[in-house]
């Protein structure tokens, strides 16, 4: 199995606070990796650093010949890394279709001339992308696929989550980062969502996923490997059953007696 992403000595400091402390870890091509750890252990910070939202204080992130730690958020997206956010960041006044097309940015033509004056060509691109968006949303929910031109703010929480995941998937990324996809949903809804993600993955065999999650049954069911963070460092890695039994991990979550 080849390595898709490897970070080495990655540190992120906010003033005196060390959120990531010389973190080193590797993600294999095609795997679903669970990223777990207590609150404040640096999971979301890790996502923010490798998607270019924060500039790392030190270290490097090798990904397909790039160093993500030195790239802008835009360049990282174009290199095929997309994400969802812990708290939904959809543009609620815009239509569901609009939100999906934001995620599809690198597949669209943004030339002024094309958009203003080549309306026939624009129409073709629009129709192509509409069919693609509809097909993708239908994998998650058939009724939702019929509502693409309604405001994203008019649908319920689980549908918003679905839209957010579709927005991250539609540009066919190489690496997908899911930041607590189950937050605010019931067990049943989470289960449905995870099944849908697994279906999509079958159509995109090259796709690797890193998932941050507090629901351990989700982690157990869908990840192939887990990495546990604590105080910005990796303290354990391996299949879920193995890390769950690890003494250091239990101590990080529950404290010492």
């Amino acid at each position: 199995m080849s390595t898709l992403l490897a970070c080495e000595g990655l540190s992120m400091r906010f003033g005196g606070l060390v959120a990531l402390n010389e973190l080193s870890l590797a993600v294999n091509a095609g795997e679903i990796l669970g990223l777990i750890g207590p609150n404040g252990s640096g999971k979301t910070t890790f996502f923010n650093v490798i998607t270019g939202i924060y500039q790392a204080s030190e270290g490097r992130v090798d990904y397909l010949g790039h160093d993500l730690a030195r790239m802008s958020a835009q360049e990282i997206y174009r290199a095929g890394v997309t994400r969802t956010f812990q708290r939904s960041r959809l543009c609620l006044p815009l239509s569901i279709f609009d939100n999906l097309m934001i995620g599809n940015h690198r597949r669209l033509n943004h030339g002024l001339w094309f958009n203003l004056f080549q309306r026939a060509a624009f129409r073709r691109q629009f129709e192509e992308q509409h069919a693609k968006a509809r097909g993708l949303v239908r994998t998650f929910s058939a009724p939702l696929a019929e509502r693409l031109f309604e405001a994203a703010g008019s649908v319920n929480m689980i549908d918003r989550r679905r839209i957010e995941i579709c927005r991250a998937l539609i540009s066919e990324p190489t690496l997908l980062l899911l930041d607590e996809p189950s937050a605010g949903m019931t067990h049943e809804e989470t289960r449905e969502l995870m099944d849908d993600i697994l279906i999509v993955r079958e159509h995109m065999p090259g796709l690797s996923i890193i998932i941050i999650e507090h629901e351990m049954n989700v982690i157990e069911r869908i990840t192939e490997r887990c990495i546990v963070l604590n105080f910005g460092q990796k303290i354990c890695e391996g299949p879920y059953a193995q890390v769950a039994a690890d003494a250091q991990v239990q101590e990080a979550y529950l404290g010492t007696e």
């Binding site: 939202i53 835009q74 956010f85 815009l94 669209l108 002024l112 958009n115 629009f126 693409l148």
Partner: protein, 385 residues
């Protein structure tokens, strides 16, 4: 009858436009204050009654389904007004001013309606266009179409000096930067003797390819006010600007602008170059504003710093908010209301800033979407999956 009242028929849209044109003619024709007030009150009551019976939704659907004939009916409406008042200066001057303000507000709408870049210096950029026309027509022999174009370019270039501080600051601070620029611009004009100081400058009338706009057209016995010429020019400009802004909104670029306004972090995470789109919107908006300014200066024949105050910038912003942020039709209606009402109702004149302020507060409190709230983006009118 049933078929005519169907949303799929163009009849409701055309009937609405005919009614609006009739109202505009009566309104502009009325001489006494009582008549103006009477006509306005009747129109408002009629509008509220029709809205009660769902007419506005019907008309909106009909406009959406027949955008070509809807747009044509607006153009015809303007031409009818020109024909009715063909030899009167005042109504035609007002009509041309409304059309030029529509161009400016379309520019502002690009800036803060779509990209979220606030601009409280709209009047200053308008002034850049005006003064460019004044300087170029009095010192050079450049063809006037080129003068108008340079007016737009100057506004865009001067705007780009502002873009760095605007990009580096957020929200209120960016607003302050533009307010400061607007005030600086006016002070600069007042102390600058080369630009006429507080007295301002004279501007030559427009001439397009030998057509002298300051000479009224004459067909046999029918004499037209020379302002009719400017109405035609302003109408063409407004129609083209409207179409461009519309197309921009209904494209991936319009989507990028909205995304940048609503969530910069998410935009960046999906590859949208936030600075690029803010600059695009700001520059295009100022360009439109400058174009309109240059034509306005040539129409009025005179420019002075007093026409480009902070208050004027506020009026521009309030037009966009009043009409419905992001909706080009809304600002078209709002521009007509905001410019014409105080001109006809003289007792409002003195209190007009107060009136606008009150109106904007009411709108923001009770109808934040404006008179005509923006709908979700419809990329291809009439397109069905």
């Amino acid at each position: 009858m049933r078929r005519l009242l169907d949303a799929a028929s163009p009849a409701p849209a055309l009937a609405s436009m005919a009614a609006v044109t009739l109202f505009a003619v009566l309104f502009l024709h009325a001489e006494s204050q009582e008549a103006v007030i009477g006509i306005t009150v009747v129109a408002v009551i009629a509008l509220l009654l029709l809205a009660r019976f769902g007419w506005n939704r019907l008309a909106a659907a009909s406009f959406a389904g027949h955008s070509r004939s809807g747009q044509a009916s607006v153009l015809i409406g303007v031409l009818v007004i020109v024909a009715v008042f063909h030899d009167q200066h005042f109504p035609l001057l007002m009509l041309a001013s409304v059309l030029l303000y529509i161009v400016v507000c379309l520019g502002l709408n690009l800036q803060f309606g779509y990209a979220g870049v606030v601009n409280f210096a709209g009047a200053a950029f308008y002034g850049v266009g005006c003064y460019t026309a004044a300087v170029l027509t009095s010192h050079t022999a450049l063809p006037h179409l080129a003068v108008v174009l340079i007016g737009g370019l100057m506004a865009a270039v001067i705007g780009s000096l502002l873009i760095l501080p605007v990009l580096r600051t957020y929200g209120h601070y960016a607003a302050l930067v533009t307010i400061a620029f607007g005030i600086l611009f006016r002070v600069f004009l007042e102390v600058n003797d080369a630009l006429g100081g507080p007295q301002g400058m004279k501007v030559q009338g427009m001439e397009i390819l030998g057509w002298k706009l300051n000479e009224g057209l004459q067909f046999g016995d029918l004499e037209f006010s020379f302002y009719a010429n400017y109405v035609l020019v302003a109408l063409v400009m407004a129609a083209v600007a409207f179409m461009l802004v519309r197309r921009l909104e209904r494209s991936w670029i319009g989507l990028n602008l909205d995304a940048v306004r609503l969530d910069e972090t998410a935009s960046a995470a999906f590859g949208i170059d936030v600075a690029r789109w803010k600059i695009t919107a700001f520059t295009l908006g100022n360009f439109l504003t400058g174009l309109a300014g240059a034509v306005y200066a040539m129409m009025t024949g005179f420019v002075a710093p007093n026409s480009f105050t902070f208050g004027d910038s506020l009026i521009l912003v309030s037009i966009v908010i009043l009409g419905g942020i992001g909706n080009p039709w809304g600002l078209t209606v709002a521009a007509a209301i905001v410019l014409m009402l105080p001109e006809k109702l003289q007792f409002i004149q003195e209190y007009r800033l107060l009136l606008y302020a009150g109106l904007v507060i009411l709108i923001l409190l009770f109808r934040p979407g404006g008179l005509m709230p923006r709908q979700v983006r419809n990329y291809l009118p009439g397109w069905k999956p």
